[in-house]
């Protein structure tokens, strides 16, 4: 089980690298979708089932559809990225991983030992609908803001525009 968890984490990082480095935008969007699926698997391993389901349905599903639609609507552009970021990427990436692991190693010696996994009491519904009610109100506001913004951006133009 631990191996599967590690493989999921590595696959998440691998597909994220592909999403960043691939030149074809469609392939990059599909790599991002694969990364979302592996992130959802990691969340399932951590017993975050609801977050995993949201990650698969909304991020891997809806956002990928949005990306693919946008790429389809902007296909006429023949603009290509320069190759320099792809060539210098391994250098920066290896340098970053070494620093990242060093910092984590130093933190391990200074931080107090963590306790064993303890389940939070109560049900998800109680926490989501009762303890985090203000978050829900904010979410409704954000959804309305997003819908009206998209409507404003795609409105029909007047003669005066």
């Amino acid at each position: 089980m631990q191996e599967l968890y590690l493989i999921s984490l590595c696959a998440l990082a691998f597909f994220s690298v592909l999403a960043v480095l691939l030149k074809d935008l469609l392939k990059a969007a599909l790599s991002l979708m694969a990364a979302s699926v592996f992130l959802a698997v990691v969340l399932f391993f951590m017993k975050a089932y609801y977050a995993g389901v949201f990650e698969i349905s909304v991020v891997a599903g809806l956002i990928t559809v949005l990306f693919v639609s946008t790429i389809g609507l902007t296909r006429g552009d023949d603009f290509k990225e320069s190759k320099l970021p792809v060539y210098i990427f391994p250098l920066f990436f290896i340098w970053f991983i070494i620093i990242d692991i060093l910092i984590m190693y130093l933190l391990l010696s200074k931080m107090p030992p963590l306790t064993k996994w303890v389940a939070e009491p109560g049900k998800f519904g109680n926490v989501f609908w009762q303890k985090r009610t203000f978050d829900l109100l904010a979410q409704i506001g954000i959804i309305f803001a997003g819908v009206f913004s998209v409507l404003a951006l795609f409105r029909k133009r007047d003669k005066n525009d």
């Binding site: 631990q2 990059a28 909304v58 790429i71 391990l108 996994w117």
Partner: protein, 105 residues
């Protein structure tokens, strides 16, 4: 299942890697859609860090509700940003950020 206290640091390492990948994409790419993909990769790192921290503290339900709120915000931001990208493409005919010079004073 998973030995969470030990895996917490492993998760943090991967969360930082995802954050670095997204930041690298934002700093080095010029395509508008690629920049949004970079933001998405950063968001994945943040999600991973939030869930690992909440599960190690025994607050997995609160962490999940925070992540769901975060995902809703992320979707709205991406939808508006992609609508902006389409509009910009209709105006300029390109996705290159360097060609967006009409706002210069």
């Amino acid at each position: 299942m998973i030995n969470l206290p030990n895996d917490f640091y492993l998760n943090l390492i991967f969360a930082f890697i995802l954050f670095f990948l997204g930041l690298y994409c934002l700093l080095s790419m010029r395509n508008l859609i690629k920049l949004l993909i970079g933001i998405e990769v950063i968001a994945k790192g943040v999600t991973l860090a939030l869930i690992s921290a909440s599960s190690v503290k025994g607050l997995i339900l609160t962490g999940q509700s925070l992540v769901i709120t975060f995902i809703v915000v992320e979707v709205c931001a991406i939808a508006v940003a992609l609508a902006l990208v389409i509009n910009l493409y209709r105006h300029t005919g390109s996705l290159d950020v360097k060609k967006l010079t009409k706002l210069r004073g």
